[in-house]
Amino acid sequence: MQNAFPLFPESASTMSGQVDALTFFLTLVSGLMTLLIFATITILAIKYRRRSPNDPLPAPIHGSWLLESTWSIVPFLVMLIMFAWGARLFFDNYTPPVGAMEIFVVGKQWMWKVQHPEGQREINELHIPVGRPIMLTMASEDVIHSFFIPAFRVKHDVVPGVGRYSQLWFNATKVGDYHLFCAEYCGNQHSGMTGWIHVMEPADYQAWLSLHGGNATMAQAGETLFGQLGCATCHAPGATPPNLSLTNMYGHPVQLVGGATVLADENYIRESIINPRAKVVLGYPPVMPTYQGQVTEEGVLQLIAYIKSLSRPSERPAANNANAREGTKK
């Protein structure tokens, strides 16, 4: 309900209504508390105002443990509700559902570069279908930015550096165009780093995909980079010794020198490309060179897409094109 003087942004995701409900509760409690204090002070100030300089001096009232306990414990309990409700929302907000459609975002001074897995690219715009959970995996090429969609009530900082993929998910519920803002001061054109989220009916979305397709998918682009950067020299699918092959690595635990085990996720892969000696696989010498400075954040995302495809047979580049265009078969 947008009128001339809106008090809150449009509600366009599954999260918006929930955040607004929490806000309503917080406002109600705070409003009541404020009114209570204002009213009490007003009433007491009027009732006990000094009417003449010769008014008798008040008797001292030093305190009351009963009152102190009451007005400590009751607000504290209300605050626990605020905490629990907020924590619950927060947990949901940052726990993407399984099977969410992945889109990749790179923030840099002063624009948002978006890559769809099927290859479509956008700058400062993001086209998505309504009613589907979308997960954004985001990286920064330079300073800290923050991806903020007020209508969805979501925000996450995008921080440069290894181990720093930020993930944000949402499920848009209303077709329309919504503001995208950068919410972390990032320099001269920080307030220019804005854009639009376009939520479309599924059919329109498919049409948009087809219209803007034609690029290599991310996995295909990644495969190309894999060859260009010489990764294939050691890590080709049929590599010797075996296990240097990256097939079926993504999503599985990896044992490291020093005894720790980590999950081979996006952050692990990126770190291994940029700072390979940080986590060395057990049984292998630390000889992998670093690629820092030789590949952009977008390139890293493409490589990751390719490596992920090596673990999910249905998404291998060679077989992928037809599926991506129609976007249906699995």
Partner: protein, 225 residues
């Protein structure tokens, strides 16, 4: 009948400053003041140590590599030197308490010599690092896969030991002041508070080194690179 305490003393110690009512109050106030100052120093170095610990934890390889550039011998000698200097400082305080002007002066001088020795050995170490190309921002020639992380850890080495050395230089300045006052007969059993509180400062600087030595020199020695 008014109950008041006269603020003016007619036969007071010339070292008593006007805001205090008596020597006891002045002495305990000065000591408390120094302890609080040392608390601020703990927070200052603590922040630095915390940052260093985070980076060490995140970069075990680089840390092992960086550790092998440290000279345990130099560090151990410096540790011994500083511990001895704390002993002589404590002796100086005691001598001042006993109104032994000569002993006080000599103990302060020996403490200063130890301090200068420490700084000298540190300077040699710094020079070694510079010559071998391990001085970030000035002469860095180490390369390799985690050169950046090694450089980061070396940064911390220089900042941590540099901050410590700076505090030692300030300490030497304070020692000179103490020496001058001692030679001018300012201290005695009735008034030795500055010796005591500067002694506290010196001991604190020593303790910081007791943390630095294991953290920077000893812990990483067994790690393989």
């Amino acid at each position: 009948m008014p109950e008041t305490v006269a603020a003016a003393h007619h036969h007071h110690n010339p070292a008593l400053v006007h805001q205090f009512d008596n020597e006891e109050q002045q002495r305990t106030a000065s000591t408390l003041g120094m302890w609080i100052f040392l608390a601020t120093e703990i927070m200052f170095f603590g922040g630095l140590f915390a940052a260093y610990t985070v980076y060490r934890y995140l970069n075990p390889h680089a840390f092992a590599e960086a550790s092998h550039h440290m000279s345990v011998k130099a560090g151990a000698i410096n540790t011994t030197v500083l511990i001895c200097s704390s002993l002589t400082m404590a002796m100086a305080v005691r001598s001042a308490q006993l109104s032994s002007k000569k002993a006080t002066a000599w103990f302060i001088i020996v403490t200063m010599i130890f301090g200068i020795a420490f700084l000298g050995i540190k300077a040699i170490e710094y020079h070694e690092h510079y010559v071998e190309g391990a001085a970030p921002g000035v002469n860095w020639t180490i390369t390799g896969n985690d050169a950046r992380q090694i450089e980061l850890l070396f940064c911390f080495y220089f900042i941590m030991t540099g901050m410590h050395a700076f505090h030692m230089i300030v300490g030497l300045g304070l020692m000179s002041y103490l020496l001058t006052c001692t030679l001018k007969n300012r201290f005695s059993a009735a008034y030795y508070s500055p010796v005591e509180i500067i002694g506290l400062y010196w001991h604190f600087v020593d303790i910081v080194w007791i943390f630095l030595f294991p953290m920077l020199y000893l812990i990483g020695q067994h790690l393989k690179t």
